[in-house]
Subunit: 114 residues, 2 copies
DNA sequence: AGCAACTGCTTGGTATACTTAGCGCAGGTG
DNA sequence: CACCTGCGCTAAGTATACCAAGCAGTTGCT
């Protein structure tokens, strides 16, 4: 019960039953074997990210909600908008490392003001 | 290049070098072995979702952007193209309008340099 | 020079994600 | 009754994610 893996499994099973799908039906849609899906739902195995995505798509649910259920997205909610700016800067291929460094410093300086 | 796994690997390597971290340093922070991280960066293996999350956290990046890079979040902001930085700045509630203006000017100045 | 402390990488193994074959049970059919 | 057809699950195997040990190259210090 405490196990996060079985929590994800329960979640999947509930969603599957809500959609009135059999284990085999869903397993075929998600392109995994039915025994494996069974084991995932019982928390024996934790599926890879790709399998998780395929299951989410098969159930017409967002991949994010699945990742969240799997405890994979619980991270730095501490800086919700702030992380966005830093991430965007780091991701920009048109900036040199030094320029990124400078931008970061300016940005963080502003945040410190507040 | 064609391989999506190696695309993720490149992304990780670039982010790691941007942070001025050695392979071993990052591997220790992300709690994986350094040879494995090396292989991930070269596209030989694709990391599990949990490892991906740990790497993202170690680099202070959002897990979402990593999942997007890994092709696991077909939806939203997969595109790291330039407009992202400006959008993120405008959306940050912790910045005053004047500070946003300044950041924009610095950012655009850098882009003009190249 | 030569040792020390780094860098990234190769090798060989273990753990775990995942599959194919098949079991036992519950409804319907004829 | 016998005979399907579906359900979920077990068992045994294969593929792959991941680790510990160690190697070659580079840098720097004495």
């Amino acid at each position: 019960k405490e196990d996060p893996a079985s929590k994800l499994g329960e979640f999947i099973r509930i969603q599957r039953e809500l959609a009135n799908l059999s284990l085999r039906q869903l397993s075929e849609m998600a392109k995994v074997s039915n025994p494996y899906l069974s084991q995932v739902e019982r928390g024996i195995y934790k599926p890879s990210a790709e399998v998780l995505k395929q299951i989410a798509n098969a159930l017409h649910l967002s991949a994010e909600s699945f990742f969240a259920q799997a405890g994979l997205l619980d991270e730095d909610v501490a800086n919700p908008a702030g992380g966005q700016v830093e991430a965007a800067i780091k991701l920009d291929p048109r900036l040199t490392p030094e320029q990124k460094e400078t931008l970061m410093r300016v940005y963080r300086g502003f945040l410190g003001d507040r």
